[in-house]
């Protein structure tokens, strides 16, 4: 179980201490020590099979692990609120479930077969509108495109009023434009709602533009810190073997916490 105690004073939202995961004798994660700073955007990068999703699963308490995950507690309640946007939602696409049903099933206790609460509908539509997804409200969830589904999943996660937003490969299966729009929206919402963002990303340009902290992972922590400190030639080689030179280190922002891209204006 994640231990919840007051760690907000030291500026960390999540602390992973000595996290190890062993599945069928294979070391998936080996003594991970990492922190996720509060209110910032932290990216976990690493090759396939590096244990990125596994690390998130320890945070969500979905798999057995050794070590401790400490999540900050907050003044307005002992329970932390997590919003989660999974990588690919594997679900039954034939389910007769509209986007609005999907949002409401989470927001009201009354069963959907006894109708929808007007307040819950208004609130869901408001969140969808913020993510430019209000037109999707009456569409079947199985009929959405990859990018549309990502926005709806983000809307559901934001409906939790999260203190911590976890995203697993938010841009997977989305084209460049879709990804740009998604990142822009995410950045806007983060500034507005003030949550901590923790995301896995394969896409190093996205990471360099959006993350304020990077955790380089390949079964153990290779490096952690600002993008400029961590995404070095040595670390990328250690993680990916031969890397494709996709990161232009000179193009990285000088100040670790400021990115000047239009989609990423940190306040």
């Amino acid at each position: 179980m994640p231990i919840i105690e007051n760690i907000s004073n030291c500026g960390a939202e999540v602390i992973f201490s000595d996290i190890s995961v062993n599945i069928a004798g294979v070391h998936i994660l080996d003594k991970i020590n990492a922190t996720v700073p509060k209110g910032e955007c932290t990216a976990i990068v690493g090759p396939n099979g590096a244990g990125k999703t596994t690390l998130l699963m320890t945070l969500l308490n979905e798999i057995p692990y050794t070590g401790t995950v400490t999540i900050a507690s907050y003044e307005h309640g002992p329970k932390h609120r997590i919003g989660y946007v999974p990588q690919r939602l594997s679900f039954d696409r034939g389910m007769p479930l509209t986007v609005l049903d999907f949002m409401i099933m989470d927001a009201q206790i009354r069963p959907l077969w006894l109708g929808k609460n007007k307040k819950a509908v208004a609130k869901a539509l408001e969140i969808l509108a913020q993510l430019h997804a209000e037109k999707l409200a009456n569409r079947k969830i199985g009929a959405l495109s990859g990018g549309e589904l990502q926005r709806v999943l983000l809307a559901l996660a934001l409906q939790q009023k999260p203190e911590l937003l976890i995203l697993d490969e938010p841009a997977a299966g989305v084209d460049f434009k879709g990804e740009y729009i998604f990142c822009e929206l995410l950045e806007k919402m983060r500034k507005q709602m003030g949550f901590t963002q923790l995301m896995i990303s394969h896409d190093l340009p996205t990471v360099t533009h959006h993350a304020t902290k990077v955790i380089c992972l390949n079964r153990k922590v290779i490096a952690q810190g600002s993008p400029k400190e961590t995404l070095t030639h040595e670390n990328l080689t250690a993680m990916f073997g031969i890397h494709m030179g996709m990161i232009d280190l000179k193009a990285l922002p000088n100040n670790d916490k400021i990115c000047n891209e239009s989609c990423c204006k940190h306040g």
Partner: protein, 294 residues
């Protein structure tokens, strides 16, 4: 408990059934009882069937229904009334499968397959030891709603109340879990609690259904109304109501048709055939809407 259960006077309900269904066959008390029982059981099975379809649990339902056979065998072996040993054994099997599915790295159909064959083998072993007990197989295979007694009807009423309470309290959460359990857990849905309660209630409903329509058709009573409802509805709320409507109309018309002289068919089979007509209709409607592949 038994005293309290027997205190419920069902006569007004039976007279109401007689006036709603003004058929000659409905004059008989056993037919009124059978109609009331099937009108309780069919919507229960259909509403649980929504989740069976959403979770793809048809094989789970099969394993539980076949455990009814082993439940009867246990009753015979230890001299317990099968009406008691069947639901209790079904409940144990259902909860065990759910626990094994949650803990084991084996795929769920493998876990169910193992339990399925074990309960069948156990039932056959007991029957082969004492061939006279094989007479129970007929009822196990085809069901017999017409022999239902008042105590059983009272038990069905209690189960109906429990189950509808669950479907009111847990419908949204069950949808969430059906969609993606990890997402539901992250967003603070008590996944394990709901899965166990659901497996327990489903097991008991299945055992009662075995006794109404027989083991061969029990899965149909669960999934055919839900599958037809899925074809007809565009929202999660509508799916529930369609499943209820389809099950009630099929159950009542199936019972009445089976009692007609020109039909003379087994009740369980006739009910399922009525459900299937609904399914064909819903499938055509879905095709016309162009939604069949979505």
């Amino acid at each position: 408990m038994k005293v309290a259960v027997n205190m419920v006077d069902l006569t007004p309900i039976f007279s109401a059934i007689q006036s709603v269904f003004p058929f000659e066959c409905m004059q008989f008390n056993f037919m009124q009882q059978a109609m009331f029982a099937i009108l309780l059981l069919a919507p229960m099975a259909a509403s649980m069937g929504i989740q069976v379809v959403n979770f793809r649990m048809a094989f789970f339902a099969d394993a539980i229904s076949h455990s009814a056979f082993a439940g009867v065998a246990i009753g015979l072996l230890f001299g317990i009334n099968p009406q008691f040993s069947m639901p209790v054994f079904g409940l144990i099997v259902g909860l065990s499968i759910m626990a094994m599915q949650r803990k084991s790295s084996l795929s769920s159909d493998t876990v169910i397959g193992v339990v399925f064959s074990a309960v069948i083998a156990f039932g056959l072993a007991v029957v082969s030891r004492d061939p006279s007990s094989a007479t129970n197989i007929q009822q196990f295979l085809y069901g017999d709603i017409l022999t239902i007694g008042k105590t059983n009807i009272n038990l069905l009423i209690i189960l109906f109340v429990l189950l509808m309470t669950f479907q009111t309290w847990g419908y949204n959460q069950m949808l969430y879990i059906g969609l993606n359990p990890s997402l539901a857990t992250a967003h603070r849905v008590k996944v394990a609690l709901f899965q166990y309660i659901y497996a327990g209630l489903l097991s008991v409903v299945i055992i009662f259904s075995v006794w109404a329509v027989g083991v061969l058709l029990v899965t149909a009573l669960l999934i055919v109304p839900a599958a037809a409802a899925r074809n007809l509805s565009r929202s999660a709320g509508a799916m529930f109501w369609w499943a209820i409507i389809i099950s009630i109309t099929s159950a009542s018309s199936g019972l009445i048709i089976s009692a007609q002289d020109w039909a003379g068919t087994a009740t369980g089979a006739t009910i399922i055939l009525c459900c299937f007509c609904w399914f064909v209709l819903s499938f055509i409607i879905a095709l016309l809407r162009g939604e069949s592949k979505k």
